[in-house]
């Protein structure tokens, strides 16, 4: 080792730089900056606009973007589009992120149990997974939201009940490999209680893939939420939501094309930021 340093003194430095590049790759940095900006805009909504997203002003409806006092114009009820966009970001981002966390937790735990115990427990869980994935994601979510009634609680619950299966499959696969590893066998041999082996020893080792997947899952969940809004089954009005804004704009698409276009662009940019983060994390995890 000392020979290596004397022959090539520059080596440790370049190795360091390579490691740092491994930690922060370009998509990850770009995605984090973009997403950070979006979150900052959502959090600072009251500072960025003085308008109330719910205040109607029929005398000033359908103002085009650039109108005085309304940077992005107003909608059919005279509500400020910029304010609705910013406050809508708060709603959609919060629901989107929260709606990914509970399937992640539920699916990981069930996958952990299926993979560890195997046998009939695994067979039963596997069957349930088969049944849930037989439904198109959106169809079952919509049917569940309908059955449970509108509101954010229904949306969280529906997405959790349908979304856990992906995490269950990922974690189960990881557990099947991990439980044959020495540390897992050692933990079992030392007579620790099962819950302790699962949660303290196994979980930290198998959860990475599930977390990586959850990053790309946020994009799909966000799309599902705005789609619910578009179909009139999302966050109940008058709470601003990007999907609802697009749906309201569709009726006036010929003359007021920007009404649907602007919230759509907001979704695309948010989706891009999240996709970049997901790509960056996958790249990092593969190193």
């Amino acid at each position: 080792m000392s020979a290596a340093t004397t022959i090539a003194p520059a080596l440790p430095a370049s190795g360091n730089r390579r490691r740092r590049r491994g930690r922060w790759n370009a998509p990850l940095v770009a995605g984090l900056i973009l997403f950070g900006l979006i979150v900052a805009c959502a959090l600072c909504a009251p500072l960025l606009t003085s308008q109330d997203p719910l205040k109607q002003d029929l005398a000033n409806a359908f103002l085009a973007p650039g109108a005085k006092g309304h940077l992005l114009g107003t909608d059919e009820l005279g509500r400020d589009v910029l304010a609705r966009l910013l406050y809508g970001a708060r709603v959609d981002l919060r629901v989107g992120v929260l709606a990914v966390i509970s399937p992640l937790i539920l699916g990981s735990l069930i996958g952990l149990i299926a993979g560890w115990f195997g046998g009939w427990i695994d067979a039963v869980i596997g069957r349930i997974v088969d049944i849930v994935i037989a439904f198109p994601f959106l169809v079952l979510v919509i049917a569940l939201v309908f059955a449970m009634g509108p509101g954010t609680t229904s949306i969280y619950t529906a997405i959790t009940l349908v979304g856990w299966v992906a995490y269950c499959r990922i974690v189960r696969g990881q557990v099947l490999v991990a439980k044959e590893q020495e540390y897992a066998m050692a933990a079992r041999a030392s007579g620790l209680p099962t819950w302790r082996i699962l949660l303290r020893h196994l979980l930290p080792n198998v959860v990475l893939q599930a977390v990586v997947f959850s990053m790309s899952d946020i994009v799909l969940t966000l799309l599902a939420i705005v789609t619910l809004g578009f179909l009139g089954l999302g966050v109940p009005p008058p709470t601003p939501d990007w999907g609802t804004m697009i749906q309201e704009g569709q009726q006036f698409i010929l003359d007021k094309w920007y009404m649907s276009t602007i919230p759509g662009l907001a979704i695309i940019i948010t989706g891009l930021a999240l996709a970049l983060i997901a790509d960056g994390i996958v790249e990092k995890a593969n190193q």
């Binding site: 037989a134 198109p136 959106l138 169809v139 919509i142 979704i267 891009l272």
Partner: protein, 313 residues
């Protein structure tokens, strides 16, 4: 013969899944908070009417016997009666299902037309400028909501250019075909990024294998090696990817039908939800799940037919 046995086994293995699907659809109605009959009839219902509907819906029976009744009706092809449309749910679905199936076919065809050439081009010019563009664009499109894309296509090709109808399905074959072009393209644009990725990856794999090198060294033209030798093998693994995504696509028909006002089962489902027409929502949810199961079956069977390495056990 072994192939037929394989198909038969796959079909039999679906039975538990189908039973599970019927179970979930059955339980949807139990999720309604409070008394389903009272909720369905609204606040102005008389207690007498609620009681009658409860009996009609079989809510007075025990849960297991309710499920068995439901399953029995299902096996007879009876999905219940829609009070909103005064028609049996099966009739409603029979009318709208063909539209959805045509939309699925149109979406799949356009997806193949977009994804296959781009994936082949990207793989053949690996790491070149074209490849990088083809790989970068889908990342942008990943977060694009299908309904928004549909509205934009309506705006440009329907309203501004007038090439395609803005909404609806018209009457007659020509109108039908014109009506499903833009919806099909909408689906294709949201689906092709995933297919391009997977097809490109398997093309790159195949192009690096020995038999491709041999084909090149025999002096066969690059175009023939790529299209004749490589694509055929790369396509086999992409059949599965396409199958998985057609299941996903089946769900997005719901939204696309809504945007383009196509009278398919997705549109019917949304209308039934807005009209609180529960039996129809239940029936369509079931049909969607069965469609996915059938597509998955067809995918597996096709894959087994194309790839001799698939174990037919």
């Amino acid at each position: 013969m072994r192939y037929l046995v394989y198909i038969l086994k796959r079909v039999v293995s679906l039975i538990p899944v189908l039973i599970g699907i019927s179970f979930i659809v059955f339980f949807l109605i139990r999720l309604i908070p409070g008394d389903p009959a009272a909720t369905l009839l609204g606040v102005h219902a008389t207690p007498q009417a609620v009681k009658e509907l409860r009996e009609q819906m079989g809510l007075e029976d025990s849960l297991p016997s309710q499920y068995l009744t439901f399953l029995g009706h299902l096996l007879q092809g009876n999905l219940g009666y829609s009070y909103v449309y005064s028609s049996s749910v099966v009739d409603l679905i029979t009318v709208s299902l063909p539209v959805t199936i045509w939309l699925l076919i149109s979406g799949t065809v356009f997806t193949l037309l977009i994804a296959v050439p781009l994936a082949v081009l990207a793989a053949a010019r690996r790491n070149g400028v074209v490849d990088n563009i083809i790989r970068a664009v889908p990342v942008v499109g990943l977060g694009m909501p299908a309904f928004w894309l549909g509205i934009m296509l309506i705006l440009v090709f329907g309203l501004k250019l007038g090439w395609f109808p803005v909404a609806g399905y018209g009457t007659g074959v020509v109108d039908h075909l014109r009506g499903i072009v833009l919806p099909g393209i909408t689906i294709a644009l949201t689906l092709s990024p995933i297919l391009i990725r997977s097809l490109r990856a398997s093309m790159v794999d195949v192009l690096g294998s020995d038999y491709i090198v041999t084909a090149h060294s025999k002096g066969i033209s690059t175009a023939r090696v790529v299209l004749g030798h490589a694509l055929r093998n790369a396509a086999v693994s992409s059949v599965t990817v396409l199958g998985v995504n057609i299941a996903y696509l089946t769900g997005s028909t719901l939204v696309v039908e809504r945007v383009f006002s196509l009278p398919g089962i997705g549109q019917q489902m949304i209308n039934s939800i807005l009209g609180r027409d529960f039996p129809t929502v239940q029936g369509i949810t079931l049909v969607f799940a069965i469609m996915v199961v059938v597509v998955n079956l067809l995918t597996d069977v096709t894959h087994a037919a194309l790839d001799p390495r698939v174990k037919l056990a």
